[in-house]
């Protein structure tokens, strides 16, 4: 999977999980403030990222995934490990 494909995958998950329009899923968009997620949604989102990329995201890292951009950044870092 190329980085571009990974970004695409992340956006697809967000669209599917949060029921938002793809155009809303910008890098700056905050899951809670802009995309209508609540705390339960963000937990589920993290789970979906874990399944999609076969990684484990510790609970204490979840705060680092507040926006679309920061989620992508986190996942890239995690996958590079």
């Amino acid at each position: 999977m190329t980085k571009e494909e990974r970004v695409q995958k992340v956006k697809e998950i967000i669209v599917e999980q949060l029921g938002v329009d793809p155009s809303e899923v910008t890098l700056e968009a905050s899951f809670i403030d802009d995309l209508g997620a609540d705390s339960l949604d963000t937990v589920e989102l993290v789970m979906e990222f874990e399944s999609a990329f076969d990684i484990e995201i510790p609970d204490e890292d979840a705060d680092q995934l507040a926006t679309v951009g920061s989620a992508i950044e986190y996942l890239e870092k995690k996958l590079a490990e």
């Binding site: 029921g19 339960l40 789970m47 399944s51």
Partner: protein, 414 residues
């Protein structure tokens, strides 16, 4: 004298149809809602059919994100609530005191399919993969919560659970809240979606459901000698109840009076009814007392009539005890012969039938009643609807655990 409580809105989702009109037409026509199960692969199960709701699309009632976060039982409740609210003519855009509108929707089981799927995740993927929505999708009170959130009704809000008597208890409790002055309007009823592998396997193990796999539409045959268990169903029934004063003040169209309810406990066995239907007798008598009517005032009984060997004989005996000679004048029908058994939603769907009988003078039949059980010798409206003047009707529901609830509906002349 306490306020009279009136019915001003109704909405139903049944295996016969989505909405009042289609369901009622099929009930009057005597159609069966039974068919092979599609919700899961039932091959290898002792029972391979049920009464599923056909053509239900949750996106007709909510967006995709809401739909994903609701178990099917909750989606049914939303759909039926929408129809009930619209039919009530409540003006939600204007001056309405939402603190005075309560919600009380029960479910006999709750989000059973959600429970099942999350247990599979737990066992296959481990505890970290159990959804954060598992608990709030599964709990049986969540339909009341979701409906209150969707329409912003902030009066009394909770659920009640009594297996197959759930909806009747919810309706009776809603009546109590209105009479107690806790609310002006109560949205109430029941909802259920138990057709999943665990549910069917569990009812099979109890020998509670029919295994007439070759003829699903003939399987639910209450009071017939060849009955072999109930047919599992799904759906929802919701009513808008109001105090008479509130309904008249807003010029609501009153569909009928919720005249009374009666509750009792068998105190006998987990699943079998008390011999002679002693608990059922008490619940019918309590309902008549509450409604201020005599046995002779009841014209029609929508029976619990599950099509299990035990229930139908026992309920017949109970009706004879409660009604004496008048038992033989009554029309008694079990519409579970067509809808299957909607468990915690049954009481609401069957109160709907009772109400429609009062409103239209048409009594839907007990279908598949070809050879009545000799112990079942009342007039069960076999196989074809009848026309009869029905002023007052009673609906019975009995739940595992020995929970009995009877509801009486009376004609209202606007």
């Amino acid at each position: 004298m306490a306020d009279r409580i009136v019915i001003t809105g109704m909405g139903i989702v049944t295996p016969l149809g989505i909405g009042v009109e289609q369901s009622w037409n099929d009930l009057v026509a005597g159609k069966s809602g039974a068919a092979p199960i599609t919700r899961f692969d039932a091959s290898g199960f002792k029972t391979t059919f049920g009464c599923e709701v056909k053509g239900f699309d949750p996106l007709d009632y909510m967006d995709r994100k809401e739909a994903k976060r609701m178990d099917l039982f909750c989606q049914f409740a939303i759909a039926a609530s929408e129809e009930a609210i619209v039919s009530s003519g409540l003006d939600l855009d204007n001056d309405i005191d939402r603190d005075r509108i309560g919600v009380l929707i029960g479910s006999g089981i709750g989000g059973m399919t959600t429970y099942e799927s999350q247990i599979i995740r737990l066992s296959q993927l481990g505890p970290r993969k159990v959804s954060p929505f598992f608990i709030p999708m599964m709990i049986g009170d969540i339909a009341s919560g979701q409906v209150s959130i969707k329409w912003n009704f902030s009066g009394p809000n909770y659920a009640v659970q009594s297996a197959c008597a759930t909806a009747s208890h919810a309706i009776g409790l809603a009546y109590m809240h209105l009479q107690a002055g806790d609310a002006d309007v109560m949205l109430c009823g029941g909802s259920e979606a138990p057709i999943n592998a665990t549910g069917v396997a569990g009812f099979n193990s109890m020998h509670a459901i029919s295994t007439r796999n070759a003829e699903p539409e003939k399987a639910s045959r209450p009071f017939d000698i060849d009955r072999d268990g109930f047919v599992i169903g799904e759906g929802a029934g919701i009513f808008i109840l109001e105090t008479e004063e509130h309904a008249l003040k807003r010029g609501a169209k009153i569909l009928g009076e919720l005249a009374g309810y009666g509750f009792s406990g068998d105190a006998y066995h987990l699943t079998a009814p008390a011999p002679g239907g002693t608990g059922a007798v008490k619940s019918m008598q309590a309902a008549m007392k509450k409604a201020g009517c005599k046995p002779e005032d009841i014209d029609y009984i929508n029976a619990h009539g599950t099509s299990t060997p035990h229930n139908d004989q026992t309920e017949t005996a109970a009706i004879k005890t409660a009604f004496g000679d008048h038992a033989y004048n009554l029309a008694v029908s079990s519409t579970k012969s067509m809808t299957g058994h909607l468990l915690g939603a049954a009481g609401a769907v069957e109160m709907f039938v009772s109400l429609m009988a009062v409103r239209t003078g048409i009594i839907p039949p007990t279908i598949n009643l070809d050879n009545p059980d000799p112990e079942c010798d009342l007039f069960y409206v076999p196989n074809k609807s009848v026309k009869r003047d029905v002023e007052t009707s009673l609906s019975n529901t009995f739940g595992f655990g020995g929970h009995n609830a009877s509801i009486i509906v009376r004609r209202w002349d606007n």
